[in-house]
């Protein structure tokens, strides 16, 4: 893949807002003059399954999907999903993990166990790991559902994107009554101290 392409893999559980996060990042990248591709999966993924969105931007982007070991950033809205997609992170890539855990069915039913201290285990192998309570921060901003935008703020800063462009994307993509909360969430993520 082209060294000039930035690859962001966004993983979580259906309903956590991976789609909105990918659209905000893509819109902001487009405003900066990049070619952009985004891959989403609809349908079955909405029913509490594991969900992945992929954002790629640069001078010219061909494939809408990221190769294993090529993601510059993984944004994980849930710890188990962070672990599931870790193989997509490139060497020296950044992984940002929300500390939220959502038990999948095999765990809920007691057939399997949720691995302990996943975020610490990942941090032990990936030097560039950021662990954040994005859901808690979002709740302070006014709505726990804005955790996705808190994460967008942290990742946008790491990728040296324009905060104004991200804010502009939020204004065009979220319903008007949710704009203020999401802009606060963007600020909180942008200013987050690891």
């Amino acid at each position: 893949m082209s060294a000039n392409t930035t690859n962001i893999l966004i993983v979580g559980v259906g309903g956590q807002g991976t789609l909105l996060a990918s659209r905000v990042l893509a819109q902001a990248a487009m405003d900066l003059g990049h070619d952009v591709k985004v891959s989403e999966i609809h349908g079955m993924a909405q029913r509490g399954g594991s969900v992945v969105s992929q954002v790629r931007y640069g001078p010219q982007v061909f494939s809408p999907i990221i190769k294993m070991g090529e993601a510059d950033v993984i944004m994980a809205f849930e710890k188990l999903e962070a672990a599931r997609y870790l193989s997509y992170l490139r060497k020296d890539g950044l992984i940002v993990i929300n500390t939220e855990s959502i038990d999948p069915l095999p765990v809920m039913s007691g057939a399997d166990v949720y691995p302990e201290n996943l975020e610490q285990k990942i941090a032990a192998v990936v030097p560039n790991t950021v662990i954040m309570d994005a859901s808690g921060i979002a709740e302070e901003c006014g709505n726990i559902k804005a955790a996705n935008i808190v994460m967008v703020g942290r990742v946008g800063k790491a990728l040296q994107m324009s905060k104004d462009s991200l804010a502009q994307a939020i204004k065009t993509l979220v319903p008007s009554k949710a704009i203020d909360i999401n802009l606060r969430a963007l600020d909180a993520g942008w200013d987050f101290m690891d």
Partner: protein, 580 residues
């Protein structure tokens, strides 16, 4: 200014720019957003049809009436619409018709992985395949001109990865295409054998003209590079090739039926080693081999599943991606589930508890097959549950039918469950059918249908009365029940199974995601919980088990207070939060 669009949105825009005024579809992943998006343009007519066959027939009529017409469906929907499709190839069109077939390599949300390029060959249609959203818009617009030029429906074949990937699109200017004059022409549009024989000759002449057209179509292109490797590809795999083998020479095909023989032979002659890279069936490869060309394709690459850049890199470059970071230990899977608070979960809970044989159907309810509910014995296609239950009964006799039910959703029942129910009445089956009425087409993202009383454009419509219709078919025993009332539900199911004769149970409650009734989340009273896990066994994601405490818990963020677990718990341990 360019815009980011998913492929489906770009197709809708392309149809709008081409002057399309009528669009019809039945929802189906990955096609749903096309006509949904198209319906939002000013001055157009769009409809959710009851099924794909009706959608294409409406498309035929609109074309006959002189309008440019868009009809969209998922790949298996084309099977439903295949009957009108094959003969529309004979009649041709008045206003241009584009049929979008959205295939699903990898089966992200489908029951099979069929490759609808095959329809192009057998129905003798021009099939065009785009590779990104810009092409999706441009090719759609072009396809309407081609449909009228060649007097034939044109198939735009897309796949999930195109439908649901966004890329940059430059919108064009909307054409105003006047309605064509209607002239009665029975020799062209009434397919009596005498007329159809003459039309078949026209179809073959058209195929000759199409074979000429594709040789010089501006939609196909050659990108010369290193001539030691030549790749023939189309659709999304083209994008992967550009990542994996940026130096190779590429013949990028848009017209995948008919194939441009001279263009392909010329390309093949100028490269040392020729590959065809196509997902699913070797449609292009087999034609090349029939022409005697030496080509490599499916002997290296799989027929099964979706391709990816790493797969092509591994096969074509011999480089296997090594993940830089890995964790020890296994990661529990996260299968999709019925939503927390899905009111129809109760039905599957009872069917499982009573160990009944369940002929299932397409939609969210197929998830009732997964553990811990595990209440499904078969799922084939839209509407198949009722005929399947009838057939099992005819094979195994009345005793079998007393332990067998058909389970089908409201939208699926209207799509293709009515005719098999007529069969049950006519041929005197004892089949018990449970219609799970959640008042929407839920799986594809909540589209309206004739039973919701609302159109695609959110206007009021006559609401189909399922109970009255089922009675009109001749089912005498029809019982409506609220599935949350689990004791009543169980009683009704057991009564109807025991009854000798056909019966229908309609379990009515809206999908939890659209239900306007909101109830507060529930909570488990610790001292009352006896750790029997009955509530856990209903597989609601709002509940979870904590082994160390031997206690069931309810996640207040997910619980919508439907009360199913209250009904299930024998110890009255689940209560409203306010009671605590």
């Amino acid at each position: 200014m360019k815009k980011l669009m998913i492929g489906n949105q770009a197709i809708a825009r392309g149809a709008y720019e081409a002057g399309v005024t009528v669009a019809a579809a039945y929802p189906g992943t990955p096609s749903t957003e096309i006509v949904d998006g198209f319906s939002k343009f000013e001055g157009v007519y769009a409809e959710w049809s009851p099924n794909e066959k009706v959608a294409l027939e409406v498309g035929f009529g609109a074309s006959l009436g002189g309008a440019r017409t868009l009809v969209t469906m998922k790949h298996v929907g084309v099977n439903v619409a295949a009957d009108p499709l094959y003969t529309m190839s004979y009649t041709g069109v008045t206003g241009g018709v584009v049929l979008v077939s959205a295939d699903d390599p990898g089966m992200h949300s489908s029951q099979n992985e069929q490759d609808n390029r095959g329809y192009g060959k057998f129905a003798k249609l021009l099939v065009i395949e785009p590779s990104d959203s810009q092409e999706a818009l441009d090719f759609t617009r072009e396809a309407f001109d081609l449909s009228e030029e060649f007097d034939s429906p044109v198939m735009l074949r897309v796949t999930t990865r195109l439908c649901h990937s966004q890329s940059l699109v430059e919108e064009g200017v909307k054409q105003d295409v006047p309605l064509k004059e209607y002239k009665k022409n029975e020799a062209k549009y009434v397919m009596l054998p005498g007329f159809a024989r003459l039309r078949h000759i026209e179809v073959e002449k058209r195929m000759d003209r199409l074979r000429d057209y594709v040789e010089t179509s501006p939609l196909n292109r050659v990108e010369w590079g290193d001539r030691s490797i030549g790749i023939i590809t189309s659709g999304i795999p083209y994008q992967y090739i550009k990542e994996v083998l940026p130096e190779a020479s590429v013949l990028k095909l848009a017209t995948v039926n008919p194939l441009p023989e001279k263009l392909i032979r010329d390309f093949a002659a100028k490269v040392e080693k020729l590959y065809v890279i196509e997902e699913l069936e070797p449609v292009i490869e087999e034609q090349l081999k029939a022409w005697g060309l030496d080509v490599t394709g499916k002997d290296l690459l799989p027929i099964i599943g979706e391709y990816s850049p790493e797969l092509l890199e591994q096969v074509l470059v011999g480089r296997t991606a090594e993940p830089p970071y890995t964790l020890e230990g296994s990661i529990p899977g996260r299968p999709p589930l019925l939503c927390p608070g899905c009111p129809h979960r109760a039905v599957f809970h009872i069917l499982n508890k009573k160990k009944l044989t369940v002929a299932g159907d397409i939609g969210c309810y197929t998830l009732g097959a997964l553990k811990p509910l595990g209440a499904m014995d078969s799922t084939l296609c839209m509407g198949a549950s009722i005929g399947t239950a009838m057939g099992m009964e005819k094979a195994r006799g009345i005793e079998g039918s007393r332990k067998t039910v058909a389970v089908i959703g409201d939208s699926t029942f209207i799509h293709s469950g009515i005719t098999p129910l007529i069969d049950v009445v006519y041929n005197q089956g004892n089949t018990t059918v449970i219609i799970l009425d959640n008042s929407t087409t839920a799986m594809t993202g909540h589209q309206d249908h004739p039973g919701t009383g609302v159109t695609i454009q959110k206007a009021e419509a006559p609401k189909l009365d399922l109970e009255a219709m089922v009675k009109a078919i001749g089912i005498r025993r029809v019982t409506a029940v609220d599935p949350i009332n689990i004791k009543e539900l169980e009683k009704v199911i057991m009564e109807e199974l025991a009854f000798e004769g056909p019966s229908v149970i309609i379990a009515v409650r809206p999908c939890a995601l659209i239900d306007s009734n909101k109830y507060p989340p529930l909570v488990v009273e610790k001292d009352k919980c006896k750790a029997c896990k009955a509530c856990i066994k209903i597989g609601c994601t709002g509940m979870y088990w904590v082994e160390e405490e031997k206690l069931a818990y309810i996640n207040p963020d997910l619980c919508i207070g439907c009360g199913l677990c209250v009904e299930i718990c024998k110890f009255d341990a689940v209560v409203e939060r306010a009671v605590m």
